[in-house]
Amino acid sequence: MPIKVENLVHIYSKDTVFQHVALDDVSFTIEDGEFIGLIGHTGSGKSTLIQHLNGLLKPTSGKIYIDDVDINSKDVELKFIRQKVGLVFQYPEHQLFEETVYKDVAFGPTNLKLSDGEIKDRVKNSLELVGLNYEEIKDKSPFDLSGGQKRRVAIAGVLAMRPKILILDEPTAGLDPRGRDEILNEIKSLHKKEKITIILVSHRMEDIARLVDRILVLNKGKIQFFDTPSRIFKEAETLESIGLGIPQVSDLIRQLRKRGFPIEDCISVEEAKNAIINVLRGKKNA
C-alpha cells in the first residue's frame, strides 16, 4: 500500500489576512513496509501533512494516493481510508474515554460492526502488540493506569482497526527513558511482525537514527531532504539552520573529522565504537 503525494499544497485561512501556506508543493512516495521518520521544526508542516494522509484535512491543491486510490476523489469513502491509515495523535491518552480498557480498544472495531468474536480477537491481539497483558488489564479503568500504559492502550485502540499504515505523532513525548524505549521497541517489532508501513514523527534524532529506513525533513512547508539517516545527518549545518539537531554521535564524528581524525560515517553508538577502535588500532599496528 504505497503512499504517493503529488504537488500537495495546503493553505490555512485562504484569502483572509491570516492566510498561511503550511505545505508548499510537496511530492514524495513511500513504499510498502517502509519505516519513515518525519522531522521538522515546530510549524514546519508535519502535523498538517500527516492529517492529509488519512483525510482529516483536504489539500488546497495536489493529490494523495493511498494504494493508487485518490483519497479525495468524490467516490471514495473516507471511512475506508481511515481504516487503512491509523493516526496516533500526540498525547493520545487524552482521548481515552471508556470505562474499561477492553471497551476503549473495542470502540473502533465495534463501529465497524464486526462480530463479537472478531472484536475480542482484535482487542486481545492489539493489546498484546503493545506489550500489555490482556487478562490483567482488560477490565481496568484506563484512568487508573500509568502514563506509559495509558499511551499503549490508546495506540492499541488504533491498531485494533488493523491499519496498513500507522502514523505516530511524537509517541514518546513526556515519557521517561524507560517508557520511551519500551514504546519504541514495540513499534519496531510491530513494523517487523505486521509488515505495516510506519511514519514516526519525532524530535529525538537519536531514536530516528536508530529506527527508520528513510527520513523526511520538512522545513517551512517544503521538503528539505528525503533520504537515509546516514546521509541526512551529514547535513548537520543545514539541519541546525532549520532548527533541528543531529544525534550526539553524528556531531562527534563531524568534530573529529574537522580535527583530522579519519573516521567513517556512523549513526549509532555501537557503530562509532567500532569505527574509533579501527582508527586507533589501525594506527598502532602501522
Binding site: H41, T42, G43, D144, S146, G147, G148, A173, G174, L175, D176, P177, R178, G179, H203, M205, E206, G243, L244, G245, P247, Q248, V249, D251, L252, Q255, L256, R259, F261, V269, E270, A272, K273, I276, I277, V279, L280, K283
Partner: protein
Amino acid sequence: MIKAKNVSYKYSNQEGKDYFALKNINIEIKEGEFVAILGHNGSGKSTFAKHLNALLLPLEGTVYIDGMDTREEKYLWNIRQTAGMVFQNPDNQIVATIVEEDVAFGPENLGLEPNIIRKRVDEALLTVDMFEYRKHSPHLLSGGQKQRVAIAGILAMKPRCIILDEPTAMLDPSGRKEVIETIIKLNKEENITIVLITHFMDEAVNADRIYIMEEGHVVMEGTPKEIFSKVDEIKKLGLDVPQVTELAHMLIDEGIDLPKDVLTVDEMVVELCRLK
C-alpha cells in the same frame, strides 16, 4: 536555601490503599546552586517539587525554604514568592491574552504600584529575551516562547529560587535550547537557585549537582561527572546517559585509555585526538 529533612508523603489510590510517593527524603540545596533531579515517571520527582512551594505539605519531616517551615501557614505567601514554579505544559500556565499582561499577573496580585509592575514586567521580559513580543498574543507563540513567558511571569515575582518541572518535555529541539539557555543565564547572571526536574540527560549535564530518585527515595547524588560515569547503574535505573559517555564506557571496556567521566562531544574529541 532549600532544606528537606526526612520528608515522607503518601497518596491513596482508588481502592483506598496508601503508597509512599516520598520516603525519608533528605535534600539540601544552597543559594545560587543549579540542581537537577532525575528519575523515571512515578519516582516522586514532581511530588517533591510540589513540596518546595507548599503546594504539598510533608506528612512527616520538614521542608524549609530560606529557613521558613512550609507547614506554617503564615509563611505561605513568602514561600511562594521565594520559590516560583514552572510546569511542563506552557498552555496551562498562561492566563492573559497579551504577553505583558500575563507577566504582570503575579506582581499585580502582590499589590505593587503600577510603575513598579511596569518595571518588573519589562525587566523580566528582557531577561528571557521576549521583550519584543510583549504586545503579542500568547497563543500565537511557539512552545519555547510560551515557556519563556511563563518563566518571565515567575521572574516578575522576584523569586530567589525557581523550580522547573520538566519544562522542555513538550518542546522541539530549538525550543528546548531556548529554555535551557534561559535557565542557565538566570542561574549564572541573576544568581537564582535552580531546581530542574527533567528526563533529558543533556540538560542535567549543565547542573552543579544531580539527585536521582527512585520509588520515593534519593538513590544517587553527585556532580554530573560523578553520576554519569556510573553508566551501568544509571541504565539499571531506567535512565539514559549522554551518547558520548556511553561510547566512552564501551571504548574503555575494549581497553581504550579514556576517562570515565566524558560528558560532552568537545571533551571526547580532545581525548580521542590525544590518543590518535
